[in-house]
């Protein structure tokens, strides 16, 4: 009995997960779960933290392994949490949450190497799934670190020693990961992009910050607290002047006294052809609504996902990119909500202003104001309308002048107008007189409409950060802005920005300058790199990083089916691309294998003439089916060969004794030739 025990013991010992690899596994687990922390419910995170702490206690010798009923209970709890938190149940986040629960709980029963391997593999899977949520450069680098640590953990499972040599283990694992790089890059370029066979609902974007199709004064002030990137625009030639950097996104033309909204034409009963351009492609011809002419800028926009369908354009544009359409309100909309980072091109084409004539239904929308309330404002509008001789432009200039000359103030923290109910315009114009762009734009449009001039609020962004060397403008959430457009017969939709009257700095130099006195710019983001752009080093680091990130997004993350086809056609020529692609894949994998084989062979130390001689002898013998065991000496090997195939006796004996004489005894160089001739005869 005791003897049997002895035999089993060493096996168990080998299979046991050592302290060192347990520590590696715990570190890897924590690292892998960090990027998906935002996506999974807090209760799941709590279970993870619990199991990690428990495992650490066991490691420190202060805890016991949890009994199986407790483990089962935790599993049930975890699954129940997932079931409660996710509706619909089948989604990417719920799947990742289940993985995360399993990953953490497996720690609590990880005793053998087999269990540990399961943990490692789930870890790799989680790393892959966190790419579905974010693909930034930083994230990618971080995931590379995760892979290294996880590989170190996996490799530690097969190490005998107990010591945790961090540098050597990490170094080795990193080397492994790096060695996988060439193949990864190759597969990235060459493997055909095949559409998904099935799909899960993509991550929910509802919680994102960004423009919405509603504007209540104060909304944009909320956006101005975020330094998140909205889009980048790369211009073909010159950049527009700062005063022209108005990026249109939404057209807010419905007002209920409190909130400005975008019209929902789809459900309005207006014929589709009336409000949606039937142009499917990127043609610049007239579409019947108006004539177009070439003017403006050629540029390419790379926009971050918004979860909303609208696209950004610089000013009014009649150019329609692929998979999108133009609305009568001169706004671009994509066919589907923008859930992934998207790149589109806008060409220099604007509607000829003299031909823009809103149809009756649109005019009606653009004149609509609530019938009651804001009586002082209506009175003011009528007054101004009379004074300006019923000329819309004069009227608009009068309103602008009012904002400029009377004491209106530009501030991020205006007094709340919620108490005013539907009289918010009155309250703002005659009472508080402090506001943000949305207040001014809203009040301006209200006055114009009250006077009978078709007008609307435009939501979007104004300004942006210029990167001269790349001909690029970067727009962030805090560039969000609202302005107004009025329609004038023969001149089309004219832009008026009342904010420019109150705070010219906002338009010329951006939000930061406008808020210089108030000091409220990004005041809630003390760590935002953007705040520190006046410090030289930090700013250059930020700029360099943003440039890198842009390149990464543009050329790596954006490398999709189309880009691949373009790139490979350029590389491999036209013709059956799939066939060529496959061939190229196979050939380059073979090449990589060849190169690595050569490198491995080259690493071996150089052999002397004598050693080469014996290597040749070994090869000849191997062909005849004889392989020398490592501890078999030359003579013992020869003996074995002779005993098994006596016909070789003479030559093998001659060679072996000659060889031993040569390398161990005082043999002469001349003997080498003799030995070679024996080898030839063999």
């Amino acid at each position: 009995m005791s003897k049997r025990k002895k035999e089993i013991q060493p096996l168990l010992q080998q299979e046991f997960v050592s302290r060192a690899s347990t520590i590696w596994l715990i570190v890897a687990l924590v690292m892998v779960q960090l990027p998906i922390l935002r996506e999974i419910p807090i209760a799941i995170t709590a279970i993870s933290v619990l199991s990690v702490c428990w495992r650490v206690m066991i490691l420190l010798g202060r805890g016991i392994w949890p009994p199986s009923w407790l483990r089962s209970l935790l599993v049930v709890l975890g699954l129940a949490t997932v079931a409660i938190n996710f509706k619909p149940l089948i989604s990417l986040e719920s799947a990742v949450s289940v993985l995360a629960v399993g990953y953490s709980l497996k720690l609590l029963e990880m005793r053998s190497r087999r269990d540990a391997l399961v943990v490692v593999y789930i870890g790799y899977f989680l790393i892959a799934s966190s790419v579905l949520f974010s693909q930034t450069l930083l994230q990618t680098l971080y995931l590379f670190c995760c892979i290294t640590v996880l590989t170190a953990a996996q490799q530690g499972l097969y190490r005998r020693t107990d010591s945790i040599k961090v540098s050597s283990t990490i170094g080795y694992a990193g080397l492994l990961a790096l060695q996988a790089m060439p193949l990864t890059i190759l597969l990235f370029f060459l493997v055909p992009r095949i559409g998904p066979l099935w799909s899960v609902p993509l991550p929910d974007n509802s919680a994102r910050t960004g423009l919405t199709d509603e504007m209540t004064p104060g909304d944009i002030a909320r956006l101005s607290k975020s330094d998140e990137l909205v889009f980048r625009a790369r211009f073909a030639s010159v950049l527009p002047a700062p005063r022209d950097r108005y990026w249109r996104a939404v057209v807010l033309d419905r007002f209920d006294g409190k909130t400005w909204r975008q019209s929902d034409f789809r459900h309005s009963g207006i014929a589709r052809g009336e409000w949606q351009s039937n142009q499917s492609s990127n043609q610049l011809s007239s579409n019947g609504w108006w004539q177009t002419r070439e003017s403006g800028y050629n540029y390419e926009i790379m926009m971050e996902p918004t979860g909303k369908p609208w696209l950004y354009t610089l000013g009014q544009s009649a150019s329609v990119p692929k998979e999108s359409f133009l609305l009568r309100t001169l706004r671009l909309e994509a066919n589907t909500p923008v859930d992934v980072r998207t790149i589109y091109n806008i060409q220099a084409s604007v509607p000829d202003s003299s031909t823009v004539r809103p149809p009756a239904w649109l005019k009606k929308i653009n004149l609509q104001i609530p019938d009651v309330s804001n009586s002082s404002s209506r009175k003011l509008a009528q007054q101004l309308w009379q004074q300006s001789g019923k000329v819309p432009i004069k009227m608009a200039n009068k309103v602008m002048a009012m904002f400029r000359e009377e004491p209106f103030f530009y501030t991020l923290n205006p007094p709340l107008l919620t108490g005013a109910g539907r009289n918010s315009i009155d309250r703002f114009l005659f009472d508080s007189r402090q506001g943000f762009c949305s207040h001014y734009a809203g009040a301006f449009v209200y006055l114009m409409r009250a006077a009978g001039v078709p007008a609307r609020v435009i939501g979007g962004y104004q300004g942006g950060e210029v990167k001269e060397e790349e001909n690029l403008i970067q727009v962030r959430q805090f560039d969000a802005h609202a302005w107004a457009e009025i329609w004038v017969e023969g001149q089309g939709w004219l832009r008026f920005d009342p904010t420019a009257m109150v705070s010219p700095e906002r338009i010329e130099s951006g939000l930061e300058a406008a808020l210089a006195e108030e000091g409220s710019f990004l005041s809630e983001l003390p760590l935002s790199l953007y705040r520190y752009r006046n410090s030289g080093v930090l700013n250059s680091v930020r700029l360099a990083f943003e440039q890198l990130e842009y390149r990464w997004q543009k050329s790596v993350v954006n490398y999709k089916e189309e880009q691949q086809r373009e790139f490979l056609t350029k590389l491999l020529g036209k013709g059956n691309l799939l066939q060529k692609q496959t061939l190229a894949l196979v050939v380059s994998i073979a090449l990589i294998l060849l190169v690595s084989a050569l490198l491995l062979l080259k690493k071996r130390k150089p052999v002397s003439v004598e050693q080469a001689l014996y290597q040749r002898f070994s090869k000849i013998m191997a062909k005849r089916g004889f392989r020398r065991l490592p501890d078999e000496t030359e003579l013992a090997f020869a003996q074995r060969v002779i005993s098994e195939s006596p016909e070789l006796a003479g030559l093998v004996r001659q060679f072996t004794s000659g060889y031993c004489q040569l390398v161990y005894g005082g043999g002469q160089r001349e003997d080498i030739g003799r030995l070679r001739s024996i080898l030839r005869r063999l």
């Binding site: 050693q611 490592p630 501890d631 013992a636 161990y664 005894g665």
Partner: protein, 299 residues
């Protein structure tokens, strides 16, 4: 070399079926190393030592080590001579050519180290005078496996002084029967003749020094040593001294095989005896024999 083979044959008559061990013992003597024989009582350790001394024609002393043996009992004491009215040094048993230290691990560490110093320095210090020991000086120590009670196991540093450690093991059935019949064993010691003179032995020992070991062989020895250090099976690998010892023993073995150069077979033949007692294995670690099996001879 015929003398060596004769000696081998003669000893094989007394200790039957242990040719390899006897060869190693002679090899150890030729390499000027001391020999440790480790085995259970009654396995023929003392007989081997006796026989070796007789065949080699060496002057021979035997000390039975006990726990109350003192260093003076081995080295000698100064006695008062009444005739000359002075102290006279009475040489102890260590002043001989072949010393058989029986059951060395029964003696206290103090006594052990006195002997071990003599082994290393080949001289003893008495009252400030260094007295050199006869030449050749050769110690064969025997010990019971250390697990037995009332013993002081030799520490590694002292084990290192022995060139080889042998273990005889039970005899085979034929040999066993011969012993029972009284045809072999200690009773036959008297029939052994002296086959060597002092001169012959020292000539042979000098010839060992001249045996060649070329680069390819040294590479093999180095691979063995490196493997012992890097395998992870042992607390410490072989020391450079152990490497020298291994080479010396291999040379002696090559000489006994009638060659003036060493080949890997020689190294393999002596490796376990030379290396095993110098390696402290970890739990679950391998042995010197396993080490030999994994190291490539050709490289």
């Amino acid at each position: 070399m015929s003398d060596v083979n004769q000696a081998l044959d003669a000893l094989s008559q007394i200790i039957r079926g242990k040719q390899q061990e006897i060869r190693l013992a002679i090899c150890c003597l030729l390499a000027k190393g001391h020999l440790l024989i480790e085995d259970l009582p009654g396995m023929g350790k003392t007989t081997l030592a006796h026989g070796l001394a007789q065949v080699m024609g060496l002057e021979y002393q035997r000390v039975q080590f006990t726990s109350d043996l003192l260093p003076a009992d081995i080295i000698g004491t100064s006695l008062f001579d009444r005739n000359s009215s002075s102290f006279r040094f009475q040489q102890g048993p260590v002043f001989t050519q072949l010393l058989l230290a029986d059951e060395i691990n029964r003696a206290s560490p103090r006594t052990q180290s006195a002997l071990l110093e003599a082994m290393e320095e080949r001289q003893v210090s008495v009252e400030g005078r260094a007295l050199s020991l006869p030449k050749p000086f050769f110690v064969i120590a025997t010990q019971n496996p250390a697990s037995q009670e009332g013993t002081f196991p030799l520490p590694e540093s002292q084990l290192d002084r022995f060139l080889m450690r042998l273990s005889l093991g039970y005899p085979g059935p034929v040999a066993e029967k011969a012993i029972l019949k009284g045809e072999a064993g200690r009773s036959e010691l008297g029939s052994l003749k002296q086959l060597f003179s002092d001169q012959q032995l020292s000539t042979l020992q000098q010839q060992v020094e001249q045996v060649q070991a070329r680069d390819m062989l040294l590479d093999y020895v180095m691979r063995l040593i490196t493997a012992s250090r890097e395998s992870g099976h042992f607390y410490a690998g072989l020391s450079p001294r152990a490497g020298l010892a291994l080479l010396q023993a291999a040379k002696a073995w090559a000489l006994m095989s009638g060659r003036d150069y060493v080949i890997p077979e020689d190294v393999q033949a002596v490796f376990v005896s030379v290396a095993d007692h110098r390696l402290q294995r970890r739990e679950l670690g391998g042995s010197a024999r396993e080490l030999l099996a994994i190291v490539d001879v050709v490289g």
